[in-house]
C-alpha cells in the first residue's frame, strides 16, 4: 500500500499474539519511540462502555504511555460529532463505520480507514421468540421498528436476500427496545450488542438475526484518520494503533476483565456490570475471526474491502478501495 | 439657602421670546405653545394657569431643557436651559413626586445632591428633611408615606442642591384637598428667594404660592393675562385680599377658557 515505510519494529505477529501484550514493553526498547510525550485524542463513537473495552485496557495497562503517547478518550453520544473532530484535528483518530466514513468522504472529508475493529457488522434484526425473524424472508408481513435514517440499511438487506421491501411495514421508533416489548412493532433494527443485551437483562431472550450473516458486509467501528495525519503524524498514528491492537488482543483473552475495567474506569457512566459482561462477550465474535487470528486485530484484506464496496454501493455510496489504508497496520504487524 | 429671608438676587430671571412648540409625532402636527413671550422675575414665584391641555406643561418642560423649542428662544439669565442643566443649576418637582421606591426618604433627598454632582452632605439633607416636616421619616420608603409626605420629600430633593431655578409641575395635583392646603401654606417659604415657576390648574394654589400668575390661553398656549399677587406670606386662603385675587384669576381664566373658544365659533 502507499506510504508504506520500511522501518518495521522488531515485533512479530506471533510474539504479539502468543505472549500477549506484556512483551510490548520489552519490544519497545528496540523500537524508535516518540521523542517526547504526545497528547492525542481518540474520538469514540458512543458513550463510554465496554464497546471500547480494548482502548480502556490500552490506557489502563500503559500500552500508550510506554510509547510516549498520552491518549484522551473522547466519549460520543446521540448528538456527538465523530468525523468533524478528526477533520478539525481535535482528535487524531475517530471510531466511525465504513458507511459513515464513505458519506463523509463524499462530502469532501479526507479520510482513510486505517483499521477495522468490527469485522462483522453489528446490525441485527431483533424479535421475540413468539414471532421470530430468523431469516430475512421472515421480515415480510412484519412491522419493523427503526430510525428512518437506517432505511438504506434495510433496503440493502432486502436486495441482498430477495425480500420484498413493500411487504414490510416500517415504523419509525427511537433507539430502544420498549416499542418491541410494548407490541408496537414485531421486530427492531438494532445492534446485536446493545438492545438484545438490554432485553436479556430483563430476562427476555430475543431472537437476533445478524445481518452480517446474510450478506451485509460492512466494516464497523473503523479507525479513521485524515490523509494529512497519515502523511505527517505517522509515528503518533502507529503508536496509537499499536496500543489499540495490544489492548484488544488482551480483551479477546478475557472479555470479563475488560467489562470490569470499564465499570471501574467510568463510575459516573451509570454502567451495569452484568450488562457490560454480556455485551463484552457478545461482541467478541464480531471483532475477532480467523482473519484476525492470522494477521492480528484490526486487519482487512482486498477481499473484505471488495465485499464492503459492494454493500456500500447498495447503500448508495460509491467508493473505491483507496478508502482503506493498511499501511499503519502493516507497520505494526509486519506483514 | 435662606428660607425665611427676603427675595434675593440668587435666582435668575427667565425670559421666553417668540417661543413655539409643535408636536409632530404622527404626521399630524399639533401646535402646543406660542408664539409666546414671557418673563419670569428673578427670585419670584410665577404660576402658570390655564385650561387642561393648553400646553403649560410643555412650556415648563422647555424651560427645564427636557423639550427643545420648535422656534424662539429661552434665556435664563444669559444662559440657555441646556447650559443650566449642564451645571445642574435647576431642579424640577413632578406631579407624581418621582421618588425612587427602593430608596429611603433620606436616600431620595441625597439623590438630589448626587445627580447635581455635589458632594454628599448629611447635615444638609437632615436639615431639609426637617424643614419639609419629615423629621423621623428619614428611613421610610416612599410606599410607606402618604401622598403629601411624598411631595414634601420631593421638594426637599429639589432644594437640597440649592438650584437657581425651581420648576414645579402640578406638584400637589395628586394629593387630597386638605393635604394640599397644608402644603400650600407650609412649603413656599422654603424656596423664597429662588426663581420658581409653577404649573397648576388650581386657581387657589396659584394665588397661594405665586407672586405673579400668568393665565394661558387654550392650545396653543399664549399669555392671556398677568395678575400680580403682592400679598405677604404665609397666606391664608380665607383672607379677603387673597379671595379677591383668586376671583380675578378665575375671571381671566374664564375669559380665556373653553367658553371663549365656543363663543368664537
Amino acid at each position: 500500500m502507499k506510504r508504506h515505510r520500511t522501518i518495521i519494529p522488531d515485533l512479530t505477529r506471533r510474539r504479539l499474539l502468543g505472549a500477549g501484550a506484556a512483551t510490548l514493553g520489552l519490544a519497545g526498547l528496540a523500537r524508535p519511540g516518540l521523542a517526547q510525550t504526545q497528547d492525542v485524542a481518540l474520538q469514540l463513537s458512543w458513550l463510554h462502555s465496554v464497546q471500547f473495552g480494548g482502548s480502556y485496557i490500552a490506557q489502563d495497562r500503559g500500552y500508550w504511555a510506554e510509547q510516549g503517547l498520552d491518549v484522551a478518550l473522547l466519549p460520543g453520544g446521540p448528538n456527538a460529532p465523530v468525523e468533524p473532530p478528526v477533520v478539525a484535528g481535535t482528535a487524531l483518530v475517530g471510531i466511525s463505520a465504513a458507511d459513515y466514513t464513505a458519506a463523509a468522504v463524499e462530502q469532501g472529508a479526507p479520510f482513510r480507514i486505517i483499521g477495522v475493529a468490527m469485522q462483522k457488522n453489528p446490525f441485527a434484526i431483533a424479535s421475540l421468540p413468539a414471532n421470530p425473524v430468523e431469516v430475512p424472508k421472515d421480515l415480510e408481513g412484519k412491522r419493523i421498528g427503526m430510525a428512518l435514517a437506517n432505511m438504506p440499511v434495510l433496503e440493502a438487506l432486502c436486495t441482498l436476500n430477495d425480500v420484498a421491501l413493500s411487504e414490510i411495514e416500517v415504523v419509525p421508533t427511537q433507539y430502544d427496545a420498549a416499542p418491541l416489548l410494548a407490541g408496537q412493532v414485531d421486530c427492531l433494527l438494532c445492534w446485536a450488542t446493545d438492545l438484545p443485551v438490554a432485553m436479556a437483562m430483563e430476562d427476555i431472550e430475543a431472537v437476533t438475526m445478524l445481518m452480517a450473516d446474510h450478506g451485509y458486509a460492512l466494516h464497523s467501528q473503523t479507525y479513521i484518520a485524515t490523509e494529512e495525519s497519515l502523511a505527517e503524524r505517522r509515528d503518533e498514528l502507529v503508536a496509537l494503533m499499536r496500543g489499540e491492537v495490544a489492548g484488544w488482543t488482551d480483551y479477546a483473552e478475557d472479555p470479563d476483565a475488560a467489562a470490569r475495567l470499564t465499570v471501574r474506569m467510568f463510575p459516573d457512566a451509570g454502567l451495569d456490570l452484568a450488562t457490560q459482561v454480556m455485551q463484552a462477550e457478545r461482541q467478541v465474535p464480531l471483532m475477532f475471526s480467523s482473519l484476525t487470528d492470522e494477521h492480528g486485530f484490526g486487519w482487512f484484506t482486498p477481499d473484505t474491502v471488495a465485499a464492503n464496496i459492494e454493500t456500500l454501493a447498495l447503500l448508495g455510496r460509491d467508493v473505491g478501495p483507496e478508502l482503506w489504508d493498511r499501511s499503519i497496520l502493516e507497520e505494526l504487524h509486519g506483514a | 439657602m435662606a428660607p425665611d429671608g427676603p427675595p434675593s438676587a440668587t435666582g435668575r430671571a427667565v425670559s421666553c421670546t417668540d417661543l413655539v412648540k409643535v408636536f409632530d409625532a404622527s404626521g399630524d402636527p399639533v401646535q402646543a405653545v406660542g408664539p409666546l413671550d414671557a418673563t419670569f422675575a428673578a427670585g419670584h414665584t410665577t404660576a402658570l394657569v390655564g385650561p387642561s391641555g393648553c400646553g403649560k406643561s410643555s412650556l415648563l418642560r422647555m424651560i427645564a431643557g427636557l423639550e427643545r423649542p420648535s422656534a424662539g428662544t429661552i434665556r435664563i439669565g444669559a444662559e440657555t436651559p441646556r447650559d443650566l442643566t449642564r451645571r445642574a443649576a435647576l431642579a424640577m418637582a413632578f406631579q407624581d413626586a418621582a421618588l425612587l421606591p427602593w430608596r429611603s426618604v433620606r436616600s431620595n433627598v441625597a439623590l438630589g445632591l448626587s445627580l447635581a454632582r455635589q458632594p454628599p452632605d448629611a447635615a444638609r439633607i437632615e436639615r431639609l428633611i426637617g424643614l419639609v416636616g419629615l423629621a423621623g421619616f428619614n428611613d421610610r420608603r416612599p410606599a410607606e408615606l402618604s401622598g403629601g409626605m411624598r411631595q414634601r420629600a420631593a421638594i426637599a430633593r429639589c432644594l437640597v442642591s440649592a438650584p437657581e431655578l425651581l420648576l414645579l409641575d402640578e406638584p400637589f395635583g395628586a394629593v387630597d384637598e386638605l393635604t394640599r392646603r397644608r402644603l400650600n401654606r407650609d412649603l413656599p417659604a422654603l424656596w423664597q428667594g429662588t426663581t420658581a415657576i409653577l404649573v397648576t390648574h388650581s386657581v387657589v394654589e396659584a394665588a397661594m404660592l405665586a407672586d405673579r400668575v400668568l393665565v394661558l390661553s387654550p392650545r396653543p398656549a399664549t399669555i392671556m393675562a398677568e395678575i400680580d399677587i403682592p400679598l405677604p406670606r404665609p397666606r391664608d386662603e380665607d383672607d379677603a385680599a387673597l379671595r379677591d385675587r383668586i376671583a380675578a384669576i378665575a375671571a381671566a381664566l374664564r375669559d380665556s377658557g373653553p367658553d371663549r373658544v365656543l363663543a368664537a365659533q
Binding site: L74, M146, P172, T173, D176 | A64, M92, L115, S146
Partner: protein, 534 residues
Amino acid sequence: MTAPATRRVARPAVPVVRVGPLAWRVLGVVGLLLAWEALARLNAGSYVLAGPVAVAIHGVEHAGLLGRALRATLVNAAWGFLWGNLAAIGLAAVILLVPRLERLLVALALLVFCLPLVATGPILRVAYGPGDGPQIVLAALAVYYTTLLALLVGLRAVPRSWLDLVESYGRGAGAQLLHVRAMAALPYLAAGLQIAAPAAILGAMVGEFTGAERGLGVLTIRATRALDVDATWTIALLAAGMAMAAYWAFGALLRRVASDPPALLLAPPGPALRRGRRRGAAGAAVMILVALALWQGGMDALGLNSYFAKRPGDVLTFLVTGPEAASHRATLLAAYAETLAYTLPGYLAGLALGAGLACAITLAPGLAAVAMPVAVALRSVPIVTTAPLLVLALGRGSVGTITIVAVMIFFPTLVACLQGLRQAPGDVIDIFASYATGRWRTLVLARVPAMLPAFFAAARMGVPAAILAVTTAEWLATGRGIGSLMALTASTSDYNMLWSAITLVALTAALAHTLVARIERAVLRVYGPEQLAR
C-alpha cells in the same frame, strides 16, 4: 399631615395562585402519588411508567451515582445560567444606550435562540473540543433570550418622570441607567431568572448529548437504551425537581425584591408600528444581511473547517443554484411540511389549554392548588427525557408529538394568562360586582380582554419553545420530520443539508414570531392600546 399609609394597596380579588389550603395540597399530592402508583402497576411490563415506589428504590440504590451526575449537570447549568444572563444584561444595556440597535439586536438574539439544539450541539462540540464547553454554552443559549426580553421590559417600565428627573440635572442615559433603570428592572430580572432556571438545566442536559463523561443527560441516554424505566423516571423526576426548586427559589427572590411582582410577559410587541412598510422591509433586509455576515464571518474567524461548517454560499448552492438543488429542496421541504403538521396543532392546543385553564382557575380558585404544581412539573421535566416516554405512551402517530409541543407551550401560557387576568382593573371588576354580574360574564367581559396582552406575549415566546419541542421529539423519539433530518444529516456528514435545515428552521421561527406580533398589534389596538404606546 396625614398618617403614613403603611398598608400596601390591595390587589384585585383574583386568587393568588401559589397559596392553596394546606389540606388541599396534601390531599392533592397524596392522590397524585396513589394514582401514579396505580397507573404504573397497571402498565407493568410495557416499559413506559415507573411508579413512585420503584423510583424511590432506584434513587436510594444509586444515590451516589445520581448525586455525582446531578452535580455535574447542575454545575454546568449554573455556569451557563451565569454567562447567559450576563450576556442578556450586556445586550440589554447596549440596546438601552444605543436604541437604534434594538430591532437588529433583538431580532438577531431571537434568531440565535431559535437555532435548533440538535444542530448547534455538535457544532459547539467541534468548536470547543472535549470538556464542558458545549454544555455551558447550550445552557447559556437556553436562557439569554428570555432574560433579555424581561430586562428590556423592566428597563423601560419606568415612569417618565423618573427619567425626566435625571435629565433635569443635565445627566444622560448612563445616569438614567445607573440611578433609575437598573434598580427598576431588578424585579423583572428576577422574574426572567425564574423562567430561565429550568431552561438552563435542559440546555446543560442536551449539551451532554454531544459527548460528555458524566451528567444526568448521560444517564438518561443509558437508561433509555437499557430499558431501565426506573432509572429513566428517577432521572426525569430528579431533573424536574431541580428545575422546580430553582423556579421556586427565584420566585422567592422575586417576591423579596418586588413587593408587587411585575407582570413579566407584558412585553410590548416592539416599536415597529409607527414605521412605514418600506422601512420595515429595509430593516428586515439589513437584519438578514447582518445575520449572513455574522454566519460567514463567525465561521471564518473561528477557522471552522468547511467540511462541516457550511457557509451561506454553500447553502445557496445546495438549495438553489447547484445541479441537484431541486431534489435537495424536495427532501428538505417534505420533512419541513411534516414538522409543521405537528407543530401547528400542538402550538395552538398549548395556547388554548393554557388560556383555558387560567380562566378555569379564575372561576374555581380551588383548582389552582392541584393544577399549578402539575403545570410547573410538566414544564420542568426536561423534554429530552419526556419526549421518548410521551411518544411511547401516546403512540408514534401525530398525537405524541403534538402533545409534547402542547406541553411545552402550555405552562408559560398559563402563567402569563393568570398574570393577565389579574391585571383587570379592580374598579372595573367592582362595577361588575355592583351589578351582581356572574363570574362567568365578568370573566368574558372584563378579565379576558385584560388578559390578551399577556396571552400574546406568551404566544410570541411560545414560537421558539414549540420549535425546540418538535425538533427534539422528532430527533429523540419519532424519527420523522426536520428534527430527524437534522440528526440524520449530522451523522452522515451531509452538512449542506444540515445547514439548510438550520436556516429554514431559524427563518421559520423569525417569521412566525413576526406574524404573531402582527396579530398581537391588531388585537391590542382594540383591547389594549396602552400596551402599544411607549
